[in-house]
Assembly symmetry: C2
Homo-oligomer: 337 residues x 2
């Protein structure tokens, strides 16, 4: 039998908690029999929501937490003060070895801070990057870092390149993933100071398959498997991707609804349009892992519905089975030493 | 009669030169009778292309330039060495007062360098930003800076905010344009060092209508009229916009063509889809002005077809008529002193 993966889920995090988070947990344990979810939240929320479903009781463990960290709270202070919040309690379950992973749709800042200070970094990893997969016409690529470490240094980006390569090789089964640095032109002399300093480090690193610079416009076509960047730039690229996609879809739909001809045409194209939208739906890939920690922390969208929560829980299986953290430690740390 | 605007056009710049550039010039003078185009390029190219069209001969002035700066060339070196290139010759026409503006689809780097060193900055402007309009559901906003000055300082961004406000007020007729700084979160404490230092400068500036931070995902909905950013981030946001748009349209079209039902539906929705695509077509707004120079320099896409060239030439009229440079000088420089 497959090894059991224990995932702590922040039942209180995100815009649709606890309704969608608890449904996501129930779906996950009903879908896969090698998952146990430690559901962390207020007793009342857990009791009310869990009562709605039938599921194998032994595979959802309610864990009480009386506090909730809100999105607007200053993260460092929130993690320090709210010791009984669902994020702190859930992360401690990973830190003390009870769980393999922690999943949350809550405050990004608190998750990033808690990941470093409660779960802790793998020895040798300097900065744990947030590394979401994004959809491309070829499948998916990883954008690393997307928000954990603004104003990073060149050696941090080199570690990101290695961690991203380990992830794409082992989770997405891509042999010798193509690594590129996000830049404002294809030529080697282009870029800001950080890119110019990082470029030769990546070029001379024997551990990765570095293919040079990538412009943002080439991200959606999958021109690289691992896109390395500083968090500020990565966050902008990712949110632009989401924003343009959502806006265009909305406008196309509105355009169709504005005439009878469009409405009829819209009905006819619905199946093929749906296929395209599914392809570009970021929630298909679950949440963004925070790599380089002693355990896995996954941040899902604040707007996550149950499907994305389920996907985020399920993705923890592959992470554990493929021993990603052991491989990151090996690739990033031992070879750097 | 309206004042005549003299525009130097780089006939040799861009992927589709000289065919599309010359056609763009011919269309511009046929469209508007207060434009004279100084068409800069090799004699052979100009003769061959101009022979194809009928147009008022006195309003296209061929100017010989024997050299061409290629996209891959290091910009500073190219501007220095190729004194008889279409970019250098065209910019000199602005510098010596023969022309009001210079338009090129050629090497971005060379245009940015030439703009500063040949055309020259308005006294008091520290860095001339590249400031394209981008389409939104509400109309258009300006993204400033998008590639002229990587690693800018907070006081540069303050100047960008003022220049962008002047542009949107006068060219786009937006009263008290909303200025926001591109950031990775809406809260004031978010951002990298540059954003954190720039934020209070913008907040305390009485000349602009500062509304705070804007996340990349809110750009397409027009949540701000003037989006201020450092060039590296701006370039990524802009190219992501273009890349996601193009890729989604391509995928939607391919999806429609994959079934008979999709094909029929596709025919029906064509008019409304076209409307949406036109709305999101960056070429509708012509090229990106490089603001803060003694004269106007407009960079259009390397892939520009004649329509974008024409739009870019025509936009120079509004720039001159509205005395944008005088207003920039007044707003940015005198009030700073």
């Amino acid at each position: 039998m497959a090894e059991v993966v224990k995932v702590a889920l922040d039942a209180m995090g995100g815009d649709n908690a606890p309704v969608e988070t608890v449904k996501g947990a129930v779906d996950a344990v009903n879908l896969r029999d090698n998952i146990i979810v430690y559901l962390v939240g207020t007793e009342e929320a857990l009791n009310t929501e869990l009562a709605k479903y039938s599921y194998p009781k032994e595979r959802i463990v309610p864990v009480a937490a009386t506090e909730i960290i809100e999105t607007g709270e200053p993260p460092v202070m929130a993690i320090r003060k709210k010791k009984d919040s669902s994020i702190v309690v859930g992360m401690k379950l990973v830190h003390d070895g009870t769980c393999d992973a922690f999943v949350s749709a809550g405050s990004s800042g608190a998750i990033l801070v808690g990941g470093q200070f409660i779960v802790g970094r793998i020895k040798g990893v300097e900065r744990p990057p947030l590394a979401p997969l994004f959809p491309t016409t070829k499948g998916a690529s990883i954008l690393i870092d997307c928000g954990a470490n603004v104003d990073a240094r060149p050696d941090h980006l080199l570690q990101f390149a290695k961690m991203g390569s380990v992830y794409m090789e082992n989770i997405m089964d891509i042999k010798s993933p193509r690594v590129a640095i996000l830049n404002i032109g294809a030529e080697e002399e282009k870029g800001n100071a950080l890119v110019k300093e990082t470029y030769p480090l990546l070029k001379n690193c024997p551990d990765i398959n570095f293919i040079g610079s990538i412009e943002a416009r080439d991200l959606p076509t999958g021109a690289a498997d691992v896109v390395v960047c500083e968090a500020f730039a990565g966050n902008i690229a990712l949110k632009m991707y989401e924003g343009v996609g959502l806006t265009m879809i909305k406008e196309i739909k509105a355009g169709l609804m504005s005439s009878l001809r469009g409405k009829i045409g819209g009905l006819l194209i619905k199946p093929s349009l749906k296929g395209v939208l599914k392809k570009f739906d970021v929630s298909e890939y679950g949440g963004a892992p925070l790599l380089g920690l002693n355990g896995l922390v996954v941040k899902t969208h604040g707007s996550s519905k149950h499907k994305e929560i389920t996907n985020s829980i399920v993705q923890c299986i592959a992470f554990k089975e493929n021993k990603i953290n052991e491989k990151i430690q090996d690739r990033v740390c031992l070879k750097d030493a």
